[in-house]
Symmetry: C2
Amino acid sequence: MSASEFSFKIIHQSRKSRARVGIIQTPHGIIDTPNFVAVGTNGTLKAIDSIMASSLGLQLMFCNTYHLMLQPGTDIIKQAGGLHKFIQRSMPLITDSGGFQVFSLAYGSVKDEIKSRGKKQHNNSIIKITEEGVLFRSYRDGTKILLTPELSVAAQKDLGADIIIPFDELPPYHITRHELENSLHRTHRWEKRSLDAHLHNRAGQAMYAVIHGGLDKDLRAASAEYLSRLDFDGFAIGGSLGKTKQEMVELLSFVVPLLPREKPNHLLGIGDLLSIESGIRFGIDTFDSSHPTRCARHGLLFTSTGMLKILQAKNRDDFSPIDSLCSCLVCQQYSRAYLHHLFKAHEMTGYSLATIHNVAHMIQRMADYRTQIMNNEL
Amino acid sequence: MSASEFSFKIIHQSRKSRARVGIIQTPHGIIDTPNFVAVGTNGTLKAIDSIMASSLGLQLMFCNTYHLMLQPGTDIIKQAGGLHKFIQRSMPLITDSGGFQVFSLAYGSVKDEIKSRGKKQHNNSIIKITEEGVLFRSYRDGTKILLTPELSVAAQKDLGADIIIPFDELPPYHITRHELENSLHRTHRWEKRSLDAHLHNRAGQAMYAVIHGGLDKDLRAASAEYLSRLDFDGFAIGGSLGKTKQEMVELLSFVVPLLPREKPNHLLGIGDLLSIESGIRFGIDTFDSSHPTRCARHGLLFTSTGMLKILQAKNRDDFSPIDSLCSCLVCQQYSRAYLHHLFKAHEMTGYSLATIHNVAHMIQRMADYRTQIMNNEL
């Protein structure tokens, strides 16, 4: 473990797009960018342990402060010597502020909201949003919890991830321009308070701002302009990116160029393969998403020739590996037929092996993108 | 992989009990005895893969022919090149005949039956028991399946485990002396037919007889006497061993001395720690059981000082390993507090890590027993 500070260096800027290859340096090692950030909400990826995740070469892992606050409690993790030590991860970690979870568990996802799902939860979980912060009920035991910028940062200091996120509001998708503007300004005040709390005791951590403003370009521009004037180490793009991939692409093509070129850019919670590829072209450096691990547990395996649905009957007697071009330990050892069998038999081993493969695939895919960028092919 | 035949060699006979240290040689390597045999019903241990099981030093793994017949089908596994290849296990395997599952899924376990559970299933699953075999309904899709000694052996030839088991009847616990005797004689005829089918094409496999006779000592003696005259490579003790540990101990102390001393003895489906220790004293060489892996998934962790219930609140801030004397990778890396957290958060990773530990513990415990026997301390 090196005690070096956070830094970002651009190694190569593609001549074909805004894509770039870079290296983020953190106290727990480097992150080659562009890269995929797997999500381990509760301090573990679903179905594989930290040692396995590291041995696959996963350079950055995303944990959720909200969940860890409620279970086991950030006090316990602090006592353990921090999140790296608690979960036995020697490589870099990023935590979020807890804000996203508080709001998304209340509103449901944008998709839920568009389909009018998830409204019922709202009344139950968020009690009050004030300038101070958010008062909500724990999804675990119903106890009332106040989350403020300062408390979120304190929790993230207890966790000690290499990269932390300021407390922000995730406004509902259905909202007036006026409400969105009010939300954005409050988010800016919250992010500033978070940054101040962080800078009071940097403790080797980096903090990325979260650009908000929903689908409103003026507000996005205002957000980028305001936040990039503050002493943040990187910039994450949050909030609603629209209902469709086209809206997202349109928004990214507008927002990313407004961010400081020399700082790393992170796209929050977007990790499907198409979005990653277009995000890279716009200059996004890191992408966190539970998509590849969730797909794995549903038997959707990523391959160099597309998605393999392992439960399909055609895999029953297919003794070839998931992907003959993949060098992961699953593809080196096990056949599609065996994976198909494990999924049919509902064996947890199947979920673990599928997760190992999909994470390994993402890591390899990102390395391939870096090569393409170095060659000005992307 | 050596192509050597099956053999058993006694290395040391304890001067303190009937316990002995031995080596079973199989085409896929040796099994040091006494040893624990983990159960991987569907061709995997629950929550850990074959490579991990082997790397823990699990020398013999038990798979269930009944389950593998129904899913994926022994034809598929034969096509894959056999069970070792299908599940990527280079070390020894043992399969059962399918009989136990057909009957136990019908009757429920002895415990279920004593408590009058599981009766309802009976009417649904076993359609007819004849001299030919058993006609039953698949628990998966309700299709009718006939299982006979010859079909069971053919299935086990497709699977290609190092040790196979003849087809037997598991009589219900509540049964008259006359019915038990009839069942025993039919089982003997079925085992003889199984042996004949096996000897017709040995294919490097060994076959263990299954001694039956329930709690009736005369019938147990008759079973041992009859089966030990046949050309079996080892002897497993099956059927009901009583309601209590005391009944089991009493029965084992009577039955084991009736078996040929120079052949390996296996105790079917008994794997709790106390039973293993007393079984070893009577000269049992191998024990298969899903007990340690099932305990693991319920958060019951084996330690050198007794059972640790990981979900207990006292583990919340206990940063020591599960067992400070254990050298398994879980104890080397993770704390009780982290395992407690993973179980509280219902993370599959917790089940995997607990399983790794309990299997490693059993393997270490059996090695310790072998040392004690070598020293005439057991």
